[in-house]
């Protein structure tokens, strides 16, 4: 085939173009073109998801040829009395909220720095993106090496600074396991948060800042009355997404601690995974998934409603 098309000039980010009236002649074509994507999504995503939600109301087991019965709300009643599960939910919430919050604060700080004219900015920008590209399993292995109680550099520095002489078993101690895992979670999630906030910062018109400066507002004042309000939509979007991703995350903590010690880092996803693929309780595990969705939806609903209300005021 010969392509006699002019050289594409679209290497830069796409720019909006003028819109023409869409004609509806292509409606059938549109369906045909979408079909190759639609079928796999339906068969391997929409239908399984509906099934998964439904399994929560059954006693489905892993083995072949075991009859499945609809048990209604029985799974949920059992979950309500399962204190291990409730505990894993509490841990999951602590994990998701702290990681999201710390990510936001650190990400905003870094974005503000990257928005300034500093040397080594390119290096920080590059480093801040790397965790995005790394497989979560590798990140977990890397931090296990760092936090190793005997040969890890973190404990070594503590000894050198005489903060702790014996060393701390970060991932194995009841008190430090969850905070340590949260720190790794923050490290992993820095890229998306920082980049989103940086894009937001760069979108703030400079004259807003100048006008505020002319009115005599100092740096702090400008930050709170110009920067933050302007960033608001992006802040809500990225923290909501971060919360969902964190609450549903699995691989990182699975490799870091596998939920230990003593269930101190047993996130809901780990709990449900064990229930499904270690004990074969497909129905019960699906019920946990149902509860997780419900909780995320309620949480986000409250969060976004609070955001909207404040925006109206």
């Amino acid at each position: 085939m010969t392509t006699t098309v002019v050289e594409p000039q679209l290497d830069s980010p796409p720019r909006p173009v003028r819109r023409r009236r869409g004609r509806s002649t292509g409606s059938r074509d549109a369906w045909l073109l979408t079909l190759p994507a639609l079928i796999p999504v339906l068969v391997l995503s929409v239908i399984p998801l509906a099934q998964g939600v439904y399994y929560g109301f059954t006693d489905k087991r892993a083995g072949l040829g075991i009859a499945t019965h609809v048990t209604g709300l029985e799974n949920f009643r059992k979950l309500w009395h399962n204190h291990l599960f409730l505990e894993s939910f509490r841990i999951g919430l602590i994990w998701a909220v702290s990681v999201t919050l710390i990510q936001f604060v650190l990400g905003l700080g870094l974005a503000l720095l990257l928005n300034e004219d500093l040397r080594l900015r390119w290096l920080a920008r590059t480093l801040a993106l790397i965790p995005w590209a790394m497989p979560p399993v590798i990140v977990a292995i890397m931090w296990r090496l760092l936090l190793d109680p005997t040969v890890g550099p973190v404990n070594q520095s503590l000894k050198d600074l005489h903060i702790s002489d014996t060393g701390i078993n970060w991932l194995g101690d009841f008190h430090t396991a969850l905070p340590a895992v949260i720190m790794v979670g923050v490290w992993v999630g820095m890229p998306q948060t920082t980049i989103a906030l940086l894009a937001g910062l760069q979108g703030i018109p400079a004259d807003l800042h100048e006008a505020a400066a002319v009115d005599g507002a100092g740096a702090w004042r400008r930050f709170f009355s110009v920067t933050l309000p302007q960033l608001r939509p992006i802040i809500f979007a990225i923290t909501s997404l971060d919360f969902i991703w964190n609450f549903n995350s699995f691989g990182l903590v699975y490799v870091l601690t596998a939920g230990g010690p003593g269930g101190k880092t047993m996130l809901p996803m780990l709990f449900a995974y064990n229930e499904a693929f270690r004990y074969g309780q497909f129905g019960y595990a699906s019920a946990m998934g149902d509860v997780m969705v419900l909780l995320v939806v309620i949480f986000l609903g409250l969060y976004l409603r609070a955001g909207l209300r404040k925006a109206d005021a």
Binding site: M1, T3, V5, P8, L10, D11, P16, V17, S27, A30, L33, T34, P36, A37, P40, L44, S45, P48, Q51, G52, V53, G109, L110, L113, E116, L118, L120, R121, A124, A128, L129, I130, W132, M134, P135, V137, I138, I141, M142, W143, R144, L145, L146, V151, Q156, W187, A199, H209, A213, A219, N248, F250, G251, V255, A258, P268, M269, Y273, A276, G289
Partner: protein, 278 residues
């Protein structure tokens, strides 16, 4: 705008230095371990810079059980889902970007909803579907799953690029009597190349890095992907020494890091492009 005072600038550089340490030190440490001798690794007084640089950890990692085969498996899966994603996403993204049909709000809605659900809900039925068609423990089965899993974001990204293309050429082609398919292949495809490259890289990285689906859907040693094998090494059974483990980890990171280096600019702008065009 006024220049910041010297004190403010100093504070900013201190903060930047702290960020650089937090973000960069873990990576340097991993590299450092991968270059150390076993004796130096056992030292309780570790240094960031190895006394003797040695590369044998890397060759040891290649010899470690199954690591090379896992790298092969990961490559097959990542390339497979990359190609399949592009083939499927290109026409669909074009349709979503060009036609105002009911498909568009449905697709956008699905992209958002699919983010919300924990993968445990989808993986159990998937496990049973793949078991019934004998695609458990199969790299092809995993590629299918990755295709579906990557599609929402790939479509979202690519649609932004489509919406930014000028329509004039397509209309000219239609006037000249070219059919829809012809227009798509010889007009749109070349123009959309930057977007397609970005989407392809995104699909590659997603598949290369993925862990959860692989953990559930692959049980045999011979089909394991890299993340599975490396995770196995640090698990209860894994007794691989630190040096080769770190070397293997570095090697598993390099491909997605290289792809990402090319991609990152386009990924961030593609994200934004997808977001602005409602």
């Amino acid at each position: 705008m006024r220049k910041p005072t010297k004190a403010v600038r100093t504070g900013q550089y201190v903060a930047l230095a702290l960020y650089l340490i937090f973000l960069g030190f873990p990576l340097l440490w991993l590299l450092s371990i991968s270059l150390k001798t076993p004796r130096e690794l056992a030292s309780i007084n570790p240094h960031l810079i190895p006394h003797h640089f040695q590369w044998s950890n890397y060759s040891d990692a290649f010899d470690a059980q199954g690591l090379l085969r896992s790298a092969g498996n990961s490559t097959i899966v990542a390339l497979g889902s990359m190609v399949l994603t592009i083939v499927v996403a290109f026409p669909a993204a074009y349709a979503l970007g060009r036609f105002k049909t009911r498909l568009r709000p449905i697709a956008t809605g699905w992209i958002l909803v699919s983010q919300l659900f924990p993968v445990i809900l989808i993986v159990i039925p998937l496990f049973m579907i793949l078991r019934s068609i004998h695609l458990l423990n199969s790299l092809f089965g995993l590629v299918l799953v990755y295709l579906v899993w990557t599609l929402p974001f790939a479509l979202w990204m690519l649609r932004g690029y489509v919406a930014a293309l000028p329509r004039d050429l397509e209309e000219a082609a239609a006037v000249d009597g070219a059919g829809r398919l012809r227009t798509l292949v010889s007009i749109v495809l070349p123009l959309l190349r930057p977007g397609l490259v970005a989407t392809a890289m995104f699909a590659f990285i997603s598949a290369w890095n993925e862990f959860f689906f692989a953990l559930v859907l692959l049980k045999n040693d011979n089909v394991r992907t890299l993340p599975l094998t490396l995770a196995h090494f640090v698990g209860a059974e894994g007794q691989v020494s630190l040096g080769p483990l770190a070397a293997g980890s570095v090697m598993a990171t390099v491909p997605s890091l290289l792809v990402f280096a090319v991609l990152q600019r386009r990924l961030t702008s593609g994200l934004l492009a997808g977001a602005v065009k409602g």
